[in-house]
Symmetry: C2
Subunit: 247 residues, 2 copies
Amino acid sequence: MEDQKLTVRAVERALDVLLCFTDGRMLSLTEIAGKAGLHKSTVLRLLASLESKGFVVRDTATDKYRLGFRIWELAASLSGDDEPAVLLLPELERLRDQIGETVSLYIRDGLERVRIQAVQSNQAIRRVAPVGARLPIYVGASSKILIAFEEEAVREQLLSQLEWPPSVDELLFRSQLAEIRGLGYATSVEEREPGAAAVAAPIFNRSHKLVAALAVSGPSNRLTTDKMREHADLIINAAKRMGTMLR
Amino acid sequence: MEDQKLTVRAVERALDVLLCFTDGRMLSLTEIAGKAGLHKSTVLRLLASLESKGFVVRDTATDKYRLGFRIWELAASLSGDDEPAVLLLPELERLRDQIGETVSLYIRDGLERVRIQAVQSNQAIRRVAPVGARLPIYVGASSKILIAFEEEAVREQLLSQLEWPPSVDELLFRSQLAEIRGLGYATSVEEREPGAAAVAAPIFNRSHKLVAALAVSGPSNRLTTDKMREHADLIINAAKRMGTMLR
DNA sequence: TAACCCTGTTTCACTATGTGAAACAAGAGA
DNA sequence: TCTCTTGTTTCACATAGTGAAACAGGGTTA
């Protein structure tokens, strides 16, 4: 009564039911009801509807449910050949809203990285990240990601091509890369821009090929080392999810 | 009031909305409302629900909708390593109901083919196809499919291994195979069993590898050459769809 | 500028629609 | 046999979803 309903409860419940299947297991009616926190009757009707449209099939032998072929039909028609830049925009916005800092997307172009997309934090003090900017590849969180998670052959070639500035020690850098591969994310504090810090994670496409780095950046006093570590999982997962959208 | 509702209207409508996106295009609210035959208001609420769960994203620039990442999440967890035999069962049943004849699934095992799944027609006179039956590979519609669409190297090896019975002319057989590759389906009339006819099409998995043959078989007076030609497209498409379910 | 389209969005009264408790049926163990 | 489970059906209730209509805003057109 207070606020208008702009959403349909039954539909959201049905989608929740669908999402119960994300682990790939087959589920019985009561399992689903438990997982989704809904009544058996309700779930039964929702499943009947899902089944009638082929989103779910029930194994006639065990009476358990499984995702149906319709999912493939839809997945097949997912616009996967779009540029990541536009395709991932909604995801970037979501992450920005969750963390409240500027979020950028980088791809590697030779020995440079290019910011192909960015959504700005809306805090007063924020990292301003112009799209299209080209930056060197040997410094910054996303740079390290774009090298660390590249296939070994490419990585070695890149490292051999880099002209190491006096400030960078190659061995130290290599050990950093190994550490980053272990952690799954990279951070940088005032590496390139004074007062700026960043966390980045790799985005792999569905063929498990590194395609981009997802970075969250902000002022280093707000984006402290602790905060970055805290956000790391969120960012890694967002990057994973984005990867599933790219072919 | 007559018969009980065992299904949820709002959910089915929402799924219909999702299915509007099968062609991969982006759609505006009114386009969707038109396609689905629903009210704008209704579609708006359904879309809001779909969007809140990530099944659909709206492009902030154009206000058009597109399928969301959740579809991939689900597709990724689709049980693709299941045996085709159980996975495709619902599809086989659907095809059986469409055509009204017995539908079988064959895989090749060396120089034999094995019927790994079948759903029987429910007509009085029908082809009875026991699951597990092993049949020779040089005769019958599915046999020809299982040879014709195999990769060339394998195909040649098979042809060289076959001991040609006097009734079969190798050159004629080879030209038949070429014709079948062109048509995309194969037929057989009383080749193996007197009074029986069959149409078959190849099932390729998502890696475009031949995995099985889908066959519709029945009495040759009901499943005439004309009828088989008429059903060919249906069968070919069913086989394609089944293929998308297999990895 | 104003008049007209189109969009997408909000409001609102109505009742059809979806809901969950409870009763039921049918196996599977013990 | 009895007792837990399943999945399924029934049913009374009011909530939750509906669609007509009005609204807001952005483009075109004249």
